[in-house]
């Protein structure tokens, strides 16, 4: 399978001299195309920074990054990468439809590629058809996050980066959206890199979970999740998932 994301010896240092902080240190990680990989670790361990390096928001201080075989900047310009944040980051002055359509209206000419999805299809994919003309303030937190996922999908990205997307939602909504995102992942065949605090969520969603250590912030270990491909929400309570969670916890405690 072709490689979607290739990070080798990537370090990011903020600031200079005595005040400098090394956010991530010599991270090496390869993600195959179509893979679902979660990043977990203690808060402040640089998970979000790593995601931002892939998204070309933060340049690596040292090391080499390749996204779909090209530099992150080129991948970004080709609209190959989308990002979903912890907040839904919707524009409150626009309707749901206008929010979802926005990625098609900004950026370079590549946007006019026939690949792009219609905003209506994107909303259908997150089961929000019928809410096109609503304003974000009229939606619940879970629905807003669905809108932000639809906005990320509308460009048909090959890689979806999710930065604790369900961290601010209550558990029931989170469970529903976990199942949804798995369905969308299967339907689209995207590569997903998913940052979370929840070990359960990481195991439930992923094929692989990368555990980041505290200091220095590097990838301590990567664990394969051998749960059945077709995961219902009941899998969250299974003993197989519980075993994975305990293994992850053990790795986290070491770091």
């Amino acid at each position: 399978m072709p490689v979607a994301i290739d990070l080798s010896q990537v370090s990011v240092t903020f600031g200079t001299g005595d005040r400098s902080i090394e956010a991530i240190s010599e991270v090496t990680l390869t993600v195959q195309e179509g893979e679902f990989v979660s990043l977990i670790g203690h808060s402040g361990c640089g998970k979000s920074t790593l995601l931002r390096v892939i998204a070309d928001i933060i340049p690596p201080t040292t090391g080499h990054v390749e996204v779909l075989g090209v530099a992150p900047t080129d991948a970004r310009r080709q609209r190959a990468v989308s990002m979903v944040f912890q907040q839904s980051v919707l524009m409150p002055w626009e309707t749901v439809l206008a929010n979802v359509r926005m990625p098609l209206e900004v950026g370079p000419q590549v946007r006019r590629s026939p690949d792009a999805m219609s905003p209506h299809d994107a909303l259908r994919l997150v089961e929000l058809d019928g809410f096109e003309n609503a304003y974000p303030s009229q939606l619940s937190g879970g629905m807003r996050q669905r809108v932000s996922i639809a906005r990320a999908l509308v460009t048909r990205p090959r890689i979806l980066l999710m930065d604790e997307p369900f961290g601010a939602l209550d558990e029931l909504v989170r469970d529903t959206l976990n199942v949804e995102i798995l369905r969308i992942w299967k339907e689209t065949g995207m590569t997903i890199v998913f940052v979370t605090h929840s070990l359960q969520e990481a195991v439930f969603l992923s094929q692989r979970v990368a555990v980041m250590s505290r200091r220095p912030s590097r990838i301590a270990r990567t664990i394969h999740v051998d749960l059945p491909q077709d995961r219902q929400i009941s899998v969250k309570d299974s003993s197989a998932l519980g075993r994975h969670v305990s293994r992850l916890r053990a790795v986290l405690d070491e770091g």
Partner: protein, 277 residues
């Protein structure tokens, strides 16, 4: 403000929204009644004191004297209100448009901001009354110095608020626009513009009342028409009731301007600016 917005757009949620709106309406009515009552008490006491102590009308007129002057001089007042309203309105437009353009240049280019923000602050610290004679010498006795003084008064609050507003954007939204490879202009048109609107309107509400003051100050230093001119004339001839009537007209202008800007704001800003999803 925020209140009416959220009720209007929660329109779909039915009963709760309606009840909330009714409560807000009743609260508004109550506030108005209480304010009118307070004003009535002050006027009554004023009337009583003036009459009880037989205060001469050229010193302090009774409210009824002022009312009579308002009626008798209505044509004179209206004739003099026109130039003042024109100067104030032109100054308002000029000052605010210029302030917003400067704010945009600051947000686009940090160097421009570093160079000229201090200059703007320096101008702000000079009392407007001290600048007025200079402008009269430079621009003469026509409408120009009055418009310019009104514009100067409007300029600073809008500049400061617009700069702040253009930057009051959720940083994740900026990151998102970056991931989408949006240009600076696209970020401006799609995001910063809207983020700045609530800030800009807050400033416009201040400057709409200030521009009337600016026009009057401009008229004081040289005019033969206008509310400022009428104030001085009434003072020279000790026509105190007319002086009071003129002040009321000036105040009504400011109130009308404020109401107009508030109404436009409620049309334009249909979302709750406090929201941050």
């Amino acid at each position: 403000m925020t209140h009416t917005n959220s009720t209007r757009f929660a329109g779909g949620s039915g009963f709760a929204g309606l009840r909330e709106r009714f409560a807000a309406f009743r609260g508004g009515i109550r506030g108005l009644v209480m304010a009118a009552l307070g004003l009535a008490i002050v006027l009554l006491v004023w009337q009583a004191i003036v009459r009880a102590f037989s205060v001469p009308v050229y010193l302090v007129p009774a409210p009824t004297d002022v009312l009579v002057a308002l009626y008798n001089d209505r044509i004179l007042l209206a004739q003099n209100a026109v130039p003042t309203i024109t100067e104030a309105a032109l100054g308002f437009l000029l000052g605010n448009i210029f302030a917003i353009l400067v704010a945009i240049s600051f947000v686009y280019n940090k160097i421009v901001e570093d160079l000229f923000y201090p200059v703007a602050i320096l101008i702000k610290t000079i009392p407007i009354i001290a600048i007025a004679p200079v402008l009269k010498i430079m621009l003469g006795n026509g409408i120009e110095p009055k418009v310019l003084i009104a514009a100067l008064i409007c300029f600073f609050p809008t500049l400061v608020n617009a700069v702040q507003g253009f930057r009051a954007v959720n940083p994740q939204l900026i990151e998102l626009m970056h991931v989408l490879s949006a240009s600076k202009t696209q970020v401006f048109r799609r995001v910063r513009f809207y983020a700045a609107l609530p800030y800009a309107f807050a400033a416009l509400k201040v400057s709409v009342t200030m521009c009337v003051l600016g026009a009057i100050v401009g008229e004081w230093i040289g005019a033969n028409t206008g509310i400022g001119y009428l104030i001085l004339q009434s003072m020279y001839v000790f026509d105190t009731p007319r002086l009071f009537a003129t002040i009321i007209v000036a105040s009504l202008m400011a109130i009308a301007g404020f109401a107009l800007v508030t109404w436009v704001e409620s049309r334009v800003i249909h979302w709750d600016p406090g929201e941050n999803f």
